[in-house]
Homo-oligomer: 221 residues x 2
Amino acid sequence: MARNKYPEETINLILDISLKLFLSKGYDNTSIQDIIDGLGGLSKGAIYHHFKSKESILLAAYKRMSDIVEEQMVKIRDNQSLNGLEKLREMFMSSLKNLKQRDLIAVTPNLLENPKFLAIQMNMMIEEIVPRYIEPVIRQGLTDGSIHTDYPRELADVLILMSNIWLNPLIYPFTEENVADKIGFFNELTKSLGLSLLDKGMEQHLIDIQRKRKKQAKEIS
Amino acid sequence: MARNKYPEETINLILDISLKLFLSKGYDNTSIQDIIDGLGGLSKGAIYHHFKSKESILLAAYKRMSDIVEEQMVKIRDNQSLNGLEKLREMFMSSLKNLKQRDLIAVTPNLLENPKFLAIQMNMMIEEIVPRYIEPVIRQGLTDGSIHTDYPRELADVLILMSNIWLNPLIYPFTEENVADKIGFFNELTKSLGLSLLDKGMEQHLIDIQRKRKKQAKEIS
DNA sequence: TTATTTAATACCGACCGTCGGTATGTATAT
DNA sequence: ATATACATACCGACGGTCGGTATTAAATAA
């Protein structure tokens, strides 16, 4: 294949194919050859020219995926017209919407069967999302009076753990019947922590996500 | 090497070595050859006679490790003289003590760098611990009046998620200074959920675990 | 009971295909 | 002219298999 004048296209192509394969078959079960086969003529040399290892492809793919979320987070965090609590709400809504729109749900059978992905995500939560976005916003809430807690750091940890892990249907699968219970409990818990995070749209989003998953599961079987 | 009259000894030897290697170097970075080298004369044939794959060794090793915990869980769950809340407390204390005693802490640098282990543990929580032990005990608590909640299933999920993941120093590392905050927040949260799970011993256990980790980290460096 | 045969088990180690990764070569764009 | 974007042949390490052998346990015969 001829040399591409715009190598970024090649990089994105590699990331597209790889991400799709990693999500659908799992990282470990995806070989470099699988990626090459999906590349339409490009060879191993192309891959290892742009990436130094298989793992670095995974990291780049994940990063490209999460950059969109991060962008939104930055915007919300630095928005001058919202108080802390409002920012938290916005962040939750935004990550829910994102989960809904992403291809993720459409191809991944189960994140627990994709240990590498699970670990990356948890690491991202602990090292980036909480300290860079959630905790600062909670601390702002403490100052502007919209949030009350003695444990800003811990509150941030647990909120993210619940929303990103426990409310993630790719990790904790749930049925349409018990979505309401999940939301209900989450709502009760946040309220008793002095937050009121949920608005009406949230439940609908989760139900939509659930439906999308169910539909997908049917199509596969 | 001569044939062993008691093959269980061989099996346990394989599991001992493998578990140690998996925990210290990570599953992916441990080769079958590494295991063989630690076996003292036994060969690849021995391993593949007793186990059908590398992954099955991991599963067996994890199972053997968690069987002890499970045994204690069964005992507590089926103890006739405790109410639901008391059983929950016992279970938390027991799993804390266990974490403290296990070699785990002494060798594992970080569970996030051991994705396979992390995934197994999360899967165990969701598929076994919650439905078999935590949820039933909470439901008993509903009946005997020691626990009040509209969401037994969800409460069980989140309690285990917090104690096994968020309070696990191998996943969420913490320093001696913020142990108190973690405990404090956990205590506040459970109390506001109508539970009072912590007793005095718990904090000390967590501090001990933390100290053990710190000491270990020093010895390595 | 004891001796002999038979069958099952425990283990060895050479070998295989596949994998991630490398080295070197070549064509194209700047 | 030179740096870049690939192609391709190749490498060592990996997980796993397979035929073979030694040892034990079970079945049978004496």
